[in-house]
């Protein structure tokens, strides 16, 4: 019996036309981090894993928040692709949303908790 076990479809579709920037390499992350420190904007780092159902369950809500809060930068990191970065930020349970401003962590939401995430973003974006 052969099954093609590819990444669940929902993730592939999200990468097209999305206000969320998916980062796939250490270099891209380093560049992005440098430019973040020079800006005053709030950045939300969305740590996800392709095998994590809860990440998929909140994906539409995160996409909506990214479209709504245009003064906030949304970045997505796959914990398998960039495992060093995930370890650096001590991410073991997903989804994990780390809110960063001026190079410092100012908030964190672990788990698919959309009300809490939205509230924190609204509070911290100013």
């Amino acid at each position: 019996m052969g099954h093609h076990f590819s990444t669940p479809a929902a993730f592939a579709a999200e990468e097209v036309d999305s206000p969320i920037l998916a980062i796939h390499s250490k270099n891209a992350w380093n560049d992005h981090w440098k430019s973040h420190k020079d800006s005053s904007k709030l950045m939300v780092i969305d740590f996800t894993a392709s095998w994590c159902g809860p990440c998929r369950s909140i994906a539409p809500a995160v996409k909506a928040m990214a479209a709504k809060y245009t003064d906030v930068v949304f970045v997505k990191i796959d914990v398998d692709e960039l495992s060093e970065v995930a370890q650096q930020w001590k991410v073991q349970t997903m989804p994990a949303f780390v809110l960063v401003k001026g190079g410092r962590e100012v908030g964190r939401v672990v788990g698919a908790k959309k009300d809490e995430l939205e509230k924190k973003i609204a509070q911290l974006r100013a």
Partner: protein
């Protein structure tokens, strides 16, 4: 005692599969998962996952998805067993083969309020027998009574093999507590005018009630319902834990369940201290053949807290191994 109210006692379903896909059940799409939950009439409130499993807090309890194991625990008047056809269908689509099924529950506080097939244990057994595949040829249904109270522990299991392999995660403990201490139960009511999210209020409840201190290694997703009620799932490596609270006076109830080894009795003690109930029932499954040892360990954990063991029972179930059942009540001061 209320004539009717929210039913805290849960119905619990555990299914074990095997298959080639290393992701197994975790590969289920959210739409398919929601379809299963629609059959049961509950929805996802919050969720989190780690390398070993996904944990969902539901509108009426919890769901744990491992690659080859699913545990679904629902309360109120949900029709838990109706999830089975849909679950088996999706599992088959993923190339998974069902090996065993275990269904268990305590005694409902409001049995007349339960919809079919939860109208009686025999209705539930008939429903299960009809919907599980014939490959699960070893089956057993039993009501484990408790001598001094109307409470019993109902267990049904079906497996394709008479003997079960000891679960790699360790034994599972299921604790049901009733007649909670009133001032402690009040901590699970939301304050008037509190407009925070259920997640935020839940996180505060987790800390203030001492639930956060049960296992500091676990990532806890707590949720506070409006106007009262609380649910949490804990994730600690490959071990889940879950607590659900119905704090209303007259039919107060709290449950605790977790899997895994050495610290289990320590967690049991701590959780009973969070609620200080008048009555507690404890069932341990998958603990290997030493039911005497298990029952003694549970009694040793609870007797110093002022609880006396009123009965103990143990039975073997196909695919589930030995299941123990003990009830405790608070000694008069």
């Amino acid at each position: 005692m209320a004539v009717s109210g929210f039913e805290g006692f849960e119905k619990r379903l555990e299914l074990h599969f095997s298959g080639d896909n290393p992701l197994g059940l975790r590969y289920l799409s959210i739409d398919d998962l929601q379809q299963v939950l629609d059959a049961v009439q509950c929805s996802i409130v919050s969720a989190a996952g780690n390398h070993s499993f996904d944990a969902y807090v539901l509108s009426e309890s919890s769901l744990f998805l491992y690659p080859h194991k699913i545990i679904l625990k629902t309360c109120g008047t949900t029709q838990l067993l109706r999830s089975i056809p849909s679950l088996l269908h999706h599992a088959a689509d993923l190339g998974l083969r069902l090996h065993s099924c275990r269904y268990s529950r305590g005694s409902f506080i409001f049995p007349a309020a339960q919809p079919f097939p939860h109208t009686s244990f025999s209705d539930e057994v008939r429903f299960l027998d009809a919907r599980l595949p014939p490959t699960l040829r070893f089956r057993k249904a039993s009501v484990m009574p408790s001598a001094t109270s109307p409470h019993s522990w109902h267990v049904y299991s079906a497996a394709d093999d008479e003997f079960s392999v000891l679960p790699p995660c360790g034994p599972t403990i299921e604790v049901c507590m009733t007649e909670l201490d009133r001032s402690l139960a009040r901590r699970f009511h939301r304050r008037k005018g509190d407009d925070r999210s259920g997640d935020e209020a839940g996180a505060e409840m987790t800390e203030l009630t001492g639930i956060g201190g049960i296992n500091r290694r676990a990532l806890v997703c707590g949720f506070a319902f409006d106007p009262c009620g609380y649910s949490m799932n804990g994730l600690d490596r490959d071990r889940y834990s879950t607590i659900h609270v119905t704090p209303e006076d007259g039919h107060s109830y709290a449950s605790f369940e977790c899997v895994g080894g050495g610290d289990m009795m320590d967690y049991l003690r701590k959780v009973v201290n969070v609620f200080r109930p008048v009555a507690v029932s404890v069932s341990v499954s998958g603990g290997g053949g030493d039911e005497g040892g298990v029952c003694s360990a549970v009694a040793n954990a609870l007797e110093p807290l002022g609880l006396s063991c009123r009965n103990r029972a143990a039975e073997d179930f196909p695919g589930a191994g030995t299941v123990t059942y003990q009830t405790f009540t608070a000694r008069r001061k």
